[in-house]
Point group: C2
Chain length 458, copies 2
Amino acid sequence: MPNTAPELLYLLHGDPAELAETLAGMRAADIAESLRNLPSAGAAKVMAALPFDLAVQVFDEPELEHRYEIVQRMETDAATALVEAMSADQQADLFRELRPVDRERLLGKLDEQSRRALTLLLRYRAESAGGIMTTEVLTVSQDWTVERTLSHIREVAHGKETVYVIYVLDDSQHLVHVVSLRQLIVADPSTTVREVGDRRRPVTVSPDTDREEVARVIAKYNLLAVPVVDEERRVLGIVTVDDVIDAIVREQTEDVQKFGGMEALGAPYMDISLGRMIGKRAPWLCALFLSEMLTATAMQRFQSEIDKATLLAMFIPLVMSSGGNSGSQATSLIIRALALGEIKLRDWWRIAVRELPTGLTLGGILGVIGFVRIMVWQQLGFFDYGVHHVLVALTVGCSLVGIVTFGSLAGSMLPFVLRRLGFDPASASAPFVATLVDVTGLVIYFSVAWVILHGTLL
Amino acid sequence: MPNTAPELLYLLHGDPAELAETLAGMRAADIAESLRNLPSAGAAKVMAALPFDLAVQVFDEPELEHRYEIVQRMETDAATALVEAMSADQQADLFRELRPVDRERLLGKLDEQSRRALTLLLRYRAESAGGIMTTEVLTVSQDWTVERTLSHIREVAHGKETVYVIYVLDDSQHLVHVVSLRQLIVADPSTTVREVGDRRRPVTVSPDTDREEVARVIAKYNLLAVPVVDEERRVLGIVTVDDVIDAIVREQTEDVQKFGGMEALGAPYMDISLGRMIGKRAPWLCALFLSEMLTATAMQRFQSEIDKATLLAMFIPLVMSSGGNSGSQATSLIIRALALGEIKLRDWWRIAVRELPTGLTLGGILGVIGFVRIMVWQQLGFFDYGVHHVLVALTVGCSLVGIVTFGSLAGSMLPFVLRRLGFDPASASAPFVATLVDVTGLVIYFSVAWVILHGTLL
């Protein structure tokens, strides 16, 4: 693992030759990682010291998350040269983050071809296949021979994102076939590319396909790249496997953060300012707090019961949290199964049918533990729950069955409801479920108490 | 998307010829997906109807999760032929799931070479580079020319997992260089492979490297495969990018389920039996329940306060849940940052320094909302909190500051503590944090109440 300390040191001591030499021996990904930890002014200086080819490679790394800030600090000409040499998908990624003024400044300087490609890519959502694809695709005509194709690959290899997958087009530029370089090099050089390899219709995605779905397609069919085609099967670009890994990892981070009950950060934890961090966390926390206020309202309604039997208040945290916990389990299961495509929206009924017995069993287990706990404490004299302690234990036990069952059902259905309403099911966070279950939990608890303790404690 | 209905139908009507024809037109991954939804006896029948080459491809799909059950239902000879033709990494994956008796039965029938390779792979943990690598590696000697290497690739292409990365060995079989097929086809055919491409030391991993770390290395350097080498840099195998995607997705599923407060399922939601599902959820739920019992103990200690002011009980759910929610946010952030390698164990102090002001601010915001809520309800006559309503509102507001701050700190430190103790930081689930914060939340709440309400309500 490279350390950022030497780079910082060289920068401070200001020996650019030595700095350039150190950097030239490093891999682009490692340089990008080191630059991430430098302020953008310093990073811009280092970029200027790099040989142009290496600088382009470093800038092609999506891990260099503040490259937009670096570009903003560079002179227009240097920045233009760098951006023009980047791959199309990374250009688009960079431009999405630039300030509008810098975007205009740079876009005006780019050559016609780059500008056209970039403008096209920027039209797509960043989370779609169109948003993460690159336009540097290796296409050949269907009547070319294997030999001609191979020599074409040798010529154009430098400018293409991948040369391992070759897209074969008919005379009207429609995608008709896909061959791999592996198939080409073992094929008879005089056959046409159309005849090499698998005859099935190529796997494709549309530019609007969600990047999660693109990842699923690539992973499922073990592809190195998937072509993005329009309705007439004209190739707009390709998404390569390494872009997909980046997309999977980003998506994963967002999902975990959402499940934790906040907006996705969109940047590494240590890179984000305190103000933005609070801005990402406060809204959800406040929304949950406002919903949770319903518990106070519910408690007010049950005040006379609490006044009569303060004993009941003691088990409120225990009973409520169990509902939240079982709900959180169920939600995490369903979110993940939905994300992986294991279950579909229409399966909600099959899930409910499974969660009901699961919840009842889990609730039964906790109910027995809760009942035993109160009886044991009473018998051993740890605490005196009064003459009606059996009824109190029964109240806690029975309400646990109801609350855990409700928690499992509510937790498993929430992601479906969210998806049905057009939201991301991953927004069904653990705190969201807990809040949902808390109010109902109180109502269940006090209703069970009323039934069991009516005429004795209540 | 293929549908499983036709396959099921054909099976039921029992026309094997028609079934074989339908399947022959499908991709291996799609057949595997269809088979997943069939009981293993039916799936074994379908496998028997497939042409051998396609059957091997289907069996090479890790998505066919119950293939071990299918193998157990096949005749030994048919199963042996199939297993021998599979790629080494998938063989190992399959053997890990077989019953010991079937493992012995099949292992004895395999040819010497397959058995040796498999025995080697089975020695590694399933979550390590050694456990997911394949041994079908394309290696060449360093003094070979590009031309000789290319013709060698054409010969052996069929049996290798990838031909796009070629590993160059010195005379003692140590890895000295890596070239890509891309670099080879544009290189001068008469140069030696040693001289082609990048001269830097190849990126490698050791067989014990965690699969998450392997994924990180492949993603970072945009590799198609990474070699697994021993201490002397002899190549033991390679991990390819598609294996890594499978590993990332599995890891992600486990992490989400753990964060939801349960053991990872290890199988799709709909495939797992109700009994196993409960077995995965009940232990954590019980552990959380037993810990949460501390809240009942805490409440018992504060019973005299509750007796004096039942009003205080009303805000317990609200105040407690806010601590859990802020803790859940902080935990999800830190788990993810640790998983991505953005922060290290030694950074705990820097995190604490950030979470303290964040927690104070978030707590301050909720505190103000809570205070205002009580004052407004009182003023508008929605509920009467008594003559000391300002003090009650102040109690709720101040304890929220304390509880949310404590929640953020505890939630962010828990993953560090777990990693320090040798556990997976992802075990720091949302319910775990909530439980941790609940007891402390009660203590904070009643302590604040005592300070503010002493002499009035208490």
